[in-house]
């Protein structure tokens, strides 16, 4: 844990130095957001660099970041020594930023509520092991594999689609896993992004022309959206994507204002977009809109504009090439399609082959059009809020006040020629319209924009009484949804307690109804399965991560079942100890049952069957001797 703290502090230091020295940045909001952005950028850059050259070990990561911090810190110190005024003049003044809001009666309950959500996330992160479908199936396992191999490589998996997605988030997960034995820090992965999103929403509102007191509504709408609170608990990607979208928009708007000073803000927007592209391929939509905004002619001098275009394009393209291009090049080489598994067609002509379309890949409720998804989401006809709920998740305040505020602010903004506000809201809505599936967690930036618009409407459309009424209603609805958010049908105080205590005491987890904890329980209760020398082939399950054991020590892999002989040869070549079959109808289950002389049934716990493989490996031989006494479990 000390190593983790040291490494993280080094990255924070580097990020702070970079933010302080970044050209064209002005003011605390600029620098704070730049710091938030620099931390994941530096982590991504260093892990990707070491992983691609095959030097990916915790020690080297630490050393590289220490060198980086030293260089950046030294440069900053040197600069400060040369020009002491420059840094001293730029101090944070948060008191001034919040001065108006703290006198409002609604402010403190909402801030306390928001702090409670953060504490809830911290508590849950500490208490429960990582859960969540995507996290256990294809976000966390690549990070473990890369750490085990010491390099970043395309991991062959049964779940091809999931492993063909950009895996930038796995690099951040790798950071959380590299320095500690525990995996609970992974649960906190999106927590900084949740805070970053709040800051970005506030900054964006200020930049769009909303007053200080009113701009806080943008942060509150976003930070207290049920989907944001729920997803902060799990290592998914949507909170990060939304926060980065808001950050990119903010820096582009700042560039509009400060374009005469250079493209410093645009480079930061480029970094945000690059991180997004490394996490999710649909960030190309954001890239397109950000590029449109960034390349807008801000000067009348045409010659100068053309000259600047090159720099602006570079500012957007270079970070993406450095931080995100690997994933698309990998797919191009492996599948001849950079955004595999999605097929790309232009006017019906296939450009890149692929087995799926975006809609078929994402739609979770068949037969439902995107607009039906949108309307259901606005109505929130759900049993409970969930981190990946297909319908609902923005909360009552978004439907009841946010939509109205978006309309009101757009009308007033266009009439009053507030182009920055109009640009922000239009870009957000355009991004939403371009999204093929209106699935709330893919458009999670919308609550922030609604909050921004709400703040603007309060400031410009209503008198004192109207403002008080609306603020009271918004606060009441936010607190109402906040009350509903922690409820999980599969989680209770007892569940949380049991999961936490079982893991802390080293006891097996009970196979209860807590998410995917039964997978952890299955591995923990199967004798000799979780062991540093265990080499496990799996099939028929998506939840790979729990199979790696409590300390992520087991080597786990999938061998494609082309034919029995080839499959068996590869099993033996890779010195496989166990074969775990997650579904009874898989072809591997049939092969294993047909060859009991090689596949000895070791354990059975529905839906899993574990086979010990008879081979000459010392560990296999040792386990073969135990088969009679403790191995086999009855049906």
């Amino acid at each position: 844990m000390m190593l983790y703290v040291a490494a993280t502090l080094l990255v924070w230091l580097s990020a702070a130095t970079a933010a302080a020295r970044w050209p064209t940045l002005e003011g605390p909001l600029d620098r704070l957001l730049a710091w938030f952005l620099m931390v994941p950028t530096l982590i991504t850059a260093t892990t990707l660099l070491l992983g691609l050259v095959g030097w990916l070990t915790p020690g080297r990561l630490l050393v590289l970041n220490a060198v980086l911090a030293l260089v950046l810190g030294g440069t900053a110190l040197w600069s400060r020594w040369r020009n002491p005024r420059r840094l001293a003049a730029d101090r944070l003044q948060f008191g001034d930023q919040l001065a108006g809001a703290v006198r409002q009666p609604w402010f403190w309950p909402l801030i306390v509520g928001w702090m409670c959500t953060l504490l809830w996330s911290l508590f849950m992160g500490l208490k429960v092991p990582p859960f969540g479908w995507d996290a256990l199936s294809y976000h966390i396992p690549p990070a473990v594999w890369w750490l085990q191999e010491g390099r970043i490589y395309p991991v062959p998996s049964e779940f091809t689609f999931g492993y063909a997605y950009p895996q930038g988030m796995s690099l951040l997960i790798l950071w959380q896993l590299a320095f500690t034995a525990t995996d609970h820090l992974v649960n906190w992965l999106q927590l900084p992004f949740a805070i970053m999103g709040c800051v970005a929403a506030y900054a964006l509102a200020r930049e769009a022309g909303v007053g200080r007191s009113w701009a806080l509504w943008a942060s509150l709408f976003w930070g207290l959206a049920p989907l944001v609170v729920e997803q902060t608990l799990v290592p998914y990607t949507d909170v990060a994507i939304a926060a980065l979208t808001l950050t990119a928009l903010y820096f582009v708007l700042r560039f509009w204002r400060r374009s005469r000073n250079g493209a410093g803000h645009l480079w930061l927007a480029g970094c945000a977009v690059a991180l997004m592209l490394g996490i999710k391929a649909n960030a190309f939509l954001t890239l397109g809109l950000v590029a449109l905004l960034a390349l807008a002619p801000l000067r009348r001098n045409r010659r100068r504009y053309i000259k600047e275009l090159v720099w602006r394009a570079l500012a957007l393209a270079v970070p993406s090439l450095l931080l995100a291009s690997y994933w698309y090049i990998r797919n191009l080489v492996l599948y001849h399609n950079p955004i595999y598994p999605v097929a790309v067609k232009v006017l019906g002509i296939p450009i890149f082959p692929g087995p799926r379309t975006v809609a078929s890949l994402i739609t979770v409720t068949p037969g439902q059009t995107p607009w039906e998804t949108l309307l259901k989401g606005l109505r929130e006809a759900i049993v409970t809020y969930s981190y990946d709920s297909p319908t609902g998740g923005f909360g009552a305040v978004f439907t009841c006040l946010g939509l109205a505020a978006l309309a009101g602010a757009l009308i007033h903004g266009f009439q009053r020629r507030r182009w920055r506000l109009a640009a922000v809201l239009s870009v957000g809505l355009l991004l939403f319209l371009m999204q093929p599936v209106k699935y709330p967690r893919y458009v999670l930036y919308l609550p922030a924009l609604a909050g921004l618009a709400f703040g603007y409407c309060l400031q410009h459309l209503f008198g004192r009484t109207g403002r008080r009424l609306l603020q009271g209603a918004a606060a009441a609805m936010l607190l109402y949804t906040l009350f509903l958010v922690p409820y999980q049908p599969q989680l209770s105080a007892e569940d949380i307690w049991q999961v936490g205590t079982a893991e802390a005491s080293g006891e097996p987890l009970w196979a209860g109804s807590f998410g995917h904890a039964r997978h952890y329980g299955f591995v923990a209760t199967t004798p000799h399965l979780a062991h540093p020398e265990s080499r496990i082939a799996y099939t028929g399950t998506e939840f790979v991560y729990p199979l790696m054991g409590p300390n992520r020590s087991s080597r786990v892999y999938h061998i494609p079942p082309v034919n029995y002989d080839q499959w068996l040869a590869e099993l033996l070549e890779r010195q496989t100890t166990f074969l775990i079959v997650g579904r009874d109808w898989t072809v591997e289950q049939g092969w294993a049952q047909q060859h009991p002389e090689i596949f000895i049934r070791w354990a059975r716990q529905w839906p899993f069957t574990v086979y010990l493989i008879r081979s000459d490996e010392p560990r296999n031989q040792m386990l073969l001797q135990l088969v009679q006494t403790e191995g086999v479990a009855t049906e």
């Binding site: 409970t384 459309l461 009350f483 007892e494």
Partner: protein, 363 residues
């Protein structure tokens, strides 16, 4: 006099702190240091922008690191087409050129016009000039008004400048456009908000939507459960849990799925002084439900479990292994059930529940 909106800026810019007179100057300084006597008149307007900006506030507050938004139009542009100061004879103060005489009379709003008429005769010429074209010879309008009168009273000068600034065609058009925009935006806001709120909250029969009330009820129960021992069951099948009533702790939960025999074995193994909770969620599994019902009859279970429903039962064990007594049972014809036992509730064996016990069975 209440001065609000962007006019306050225009008036402020006319202040010349260096002299005891009023004049119009080009933009700089934007916010000059106020004269000592005028500081109090500026303070309320400046303070109001921080906390509760006036609805008419023209420009939003710029970010703290910004001096002035670049897109903000130069508000005083037509008024500040002032001839060079050097062109004016010594001893006179240059003012803005007058507008053409035909523009002024019909542009003056009635309020400002009446204010001008009511003004005393010794009011400064600067205030009279735009509203009374006949008072200003054409030659003056081309070269600017040359003031020879004494310096006006500050209050009157403010009033005059404010009146003139609001009589300009541009200002009037802007005000009309802005008030229309505001009204339109506000109407859209209110209408959409009402419609969306109805869509969100109101269900059939103009009543509160059942999803909303049910969700709130569930969460309330869940929060209740957070204070005691909670057992959840949300997958079809059978579940058995051991409960230690004296410590108020669950110490074992088994998901038996459809294995009735496993349930019976688990009940037989229940330690002395402990309680067991059996929960059933039976969406469509009639056979298993019947089997379980038959198996539990020997422990006093008499309720009929519906094939599409849920059930929960609490048993306590006597001193003899395998001898169980039914403490509490509850059956629901919906696949959702909430069972709540209060703290202090006594079992057949005399033990009392140390904390409230709460079971939630749902799909």
């Amino acid at each position: 006099m209440i001065i609000k909106g962007h006019n306050i800026r225009r008036v402020r810019r006319t202040l010349d702190p260096s002299g005891d007179f009023w004049t119009l100057r080009p933009r700089q300084p934007r916010f000059p240091t106020p004269a000592p006597g005028l500081a109090s008149s500026r303070t309320p307007a400046a303070a109001s922008t921080l906390d509760e900006p006036a609805p008419e506030a023209a420009a939003p507050e710029p970010p703290p690191h910004e001096a002035r938004p670049p897109e903000e139009p130069p508000l005083e542009a037509p008024l500040l087409a002032v001839p060079p100061v050097a062109a004016a004879p010594p001893g006179v103060r240059p003012l803005e050129p007058l507008r053409a005489p035909e523009e002024t009379p019909d542009e003056t709003p009635p309020r400002e016009a009446s204010a001008s008429k009511a003004r005393p005769l010794e009011a400064p010429a600067v205030a009279e000039a735009p509203t009374s074209p006949e008072a200003a010879p054409p030659s003056h309008s081309s070269t600017g008004v040359l003031l020879q009168a004494a310096a006006p009273e500050p209050g009157e000068a403010w009033q005059a400048l404010y009146a003139r600034s609001t009589t300009s065609r541009r200002a009037r058009r802007t005000r009309t456009r802005l008030s229309r925009a505001r009204a339109l935006a506000r109407t859209a806001f209110v209408l959409i908000s009402l419609l969306a709120s109805a869509y969100y909250w109101v269900g059939p029969g103009l009543q509160l939507r059942p999803e909303r009330t049910a969700m709130a009820g569930r969460v309330f129960e869940w929060w209740q459960g957070m204070r005691g021992v909670a057992l959840t069951h949300h997958r079809a099948g059978l579940q058995v849990a051991y409960l230690d009533p004296q410590t108020g702790r669950l110490f074992g939960v088994w998901d038996a799925q459809a294995d009735v025999e496993l349930v019976k074995r688990l009940l037989l193994l229940l330690p002395e002084g402990q309680w067991a909770a059996v929960t059933v969620l039976t969406p469509g599994d009639v056979e298993t439900t019947t089997l379980l019902q038959d198996a539990l009859q020997e422990y006093g279970w008499v309720q009929e479990v519906p094939p599409h429903g849920a059930a929960a039962a609490i048993f306590s064990r006597s001193t003899q292994p395998g001898q169980l007594q039914l403490i509490h049972a509850q059956v629901s014809s919906d696949p959702a059930l909430v069972l709540s036992l209060p703290r202090g509730m006594a079992g057949q064996d005399g033990t009392r529940l140390a904390s409230s016990f709460y079971i939630h069975v749902a799909e």
